[in-house]
Amino acid sequence: MIAGPAPAVAEELLAALPPSPAVWCSSLRKRYRRQVAVDGVSFTVGRGEVVGLLGPNGAGKTTVIKMLLGLVGPDAGDVLLLGRPARDPRARTRVGYLPELFRYQPWLTAAEVLALHVRLTGISVPAEEPRECLDVVGLADRAGDRVGDFSKGMQQRLGLAVALLAGPELVILDEPTSALDPVGRADVRDLLLSLRARGVAVLLNSHLIGEVERVCDRVVILDKGRVAASGTLAELLGRRDVRLRLAGVSRAAEELLAAAGPLTRDGDWFTVGLPADEDATTVPALVDDLVALGVRVHAVEPGRISLEERLLGILRAGPGADPR
């Protein structure tokens, strides 16, 4: 047992180490009365990395996010945000957050809400930044309107603007598209891509798996309060497929396809499972060989087992099953 201020000293030393991940959490645990909401969750989000937090309703995603932000006190476990222990409010200086339950002071205008949050971060930001944030989420012309008169979707957009304020290095979004129309969802996707391009780390909890698949570098899948699986998309999805629409397929061509990998055929669509170690030359070489055999190639498209299928597979297998 270390006595006195030693842990604080250790924390200071830890904070001084150069590249600390955006989020580091270890063995987080939380129970609400009898309900164990989170049970030993550990993961990291690297600087500039976009990580998706997936899982069914009640898996504990929101609780994990709230523990990261110090909104819920964990029963056990540690959190470092941008290298600082989460107990220290300063850890959240460069963190933007859109809560699942988004609601902003109804008696303030949108511009006043942003001004309030700028003051709360304690960072001086360029005068035009709040306006730009509103512009990004499509609320520029409503800046002077009372938030109380906003629709749900507009409040969520305002919440996104708040999360983007004051140059965050980490943005945590809890179901950012739950109240948005299709255009709004596309906007959020663009927003995530632009955050990634700017090197901002993002932790994203979303049920729109297609979106997650498109923007996330890595996913963490929670189920019943535990990490059911985690890894990069390539790791999780493993095998890649290539789908080809072919005409004039001879026996020799069919043998060639079968030799490349497990083959399935549906009319003139052929699906070949590629080995995990395939490189960038595998598919072009296959196409060359097919053409040489006189096959007419109408279409070649990458097909892979979707994240959705993989997610369902992991969740149906249940805890204790091999996560890969």
């Binding site: 809560p99 002071q105 971060t121």
Partner: protein, 283 residues
């Protein structure tokens, strides 16, 4: 940073209070009360002018002034008690606190800031409405209270006690219920105070102790009696006969320093308790 946070939330709370509908109802009630009192005082002046000795006129003026000030303090108590709940607990329930508390702020600073904002709002209201009332009385019957500053400060302290209680209650019961309970306790303490002074007047110690005990448990009534003492004519008590000892709108003695210290300690303790509940709460 912590002081900054306190000030930001104090300002935000004043802004919230002034933009909520509660302010408009408060202002409406206050204007009605001031208008009625202006009319009442002008009638007193017209009815008794020349017929009453100045002592009696002062007694009437002091009593009615205290009565109206009681009305004002009741409005302030209602207003702030019903504001305290929504300002803190209401934000937890609606989720409004999530985005705000995820900022680099200490929860204790947020609590103190909001409390300070409520205190500023309640005291501002008391000062403004009280001054207008003094001017009304002065213009109609030519009476000016002996110690208006101390009296208004004590009324502001009474409002502070009640809103602090409202904050504590709102950490355990719903915001609306906490307002109702706080105002209910305020009324109960006032009645216990009147009962106690009746007990003192008829020389029944057991009954008198009811008032003393309630004044310790919730210092609103004790502060109110101190405020009345500051508003009424100081020469009045000497001229009064025994039956006025139990008057609900006249006070026999000024506030003691010990009682004031207890009231301040009470506020600190209750705010501390509210803070402990607030710091531990999961959002």
């Amino acid at each position: 940073m912590t002081v900054r946070t306190v000030l930001i939330f104090a300002a935000l709370t004043v802004q919230e209070a002034s933009r909520r509908r509660v302010l408009r109802s408060l202002a409406g009630l206050t204007i009605v009360l001031l208008a009625v009192s202006a009319f009442g005082f002008s009638r007193i002046d017209a009815e008794f002018d020349g017929e009453l000795t100045t002592g009696e006129a002062r007694l009437v003026a002091s009593t009615v002034l205290n009565l109206v000030m009681f009305g004002l303090s009741l409005i302030a108590a209602l207003g702030t008690a019903f504001l305290a709940g929504p300002v803190l607990a209401g934000e937890f329930e609606s989720g409004m606190a999530l985005a705000v508390l995820a900022r680099p702020v200490r929860r204790s600073a947020v609590l103190v800031g909001k409390w300070l904002g409520l205190v500023a709002f309640g005291s501002g209201f008391i000062t403004l409405a009280g001054l207008v009332q003094f001017l009304v009385v002065w213009a109609t019957v030519g009476y000016w209270p002996p110690d208006p500053v101390a009296g208004l400060a004590l009324l502001a302290a009474q409002t502070t006690v009640l809103l602090t209680l409202g904050l504590l209650l709102s950490t355990v019961i719903s915001p609306m219920a906490s307002g109702i309970v706080a105002v209910g306790l305020f009324g109960a303490t006032w009645i216990a105070g009147v009962v106690g002074s009746v007990g003192a007047a008829i020389g029944n110690d057991a009954v008198a102790r009811v008032g003393d005990a309630s004044r310790m448990l919730l210092p609103t009534d004790g502060l109110w009696r101190g405020a009345m003492n500051a508003f009424q004519d100081p020469g009045l008590l000497a001229t009064l006969s025994e039956e006025f000892n139990a008057h609900p709108f006249l006070s026999l003695s000024p506030l003691t320093g010990a009682y004031l210290a207890w009231a301040i300690l009470w506020i600190v303790l209750v705010l501390g308790l509210a803070g402990m509940a607030f710091l531990r709460r999961d959002l």
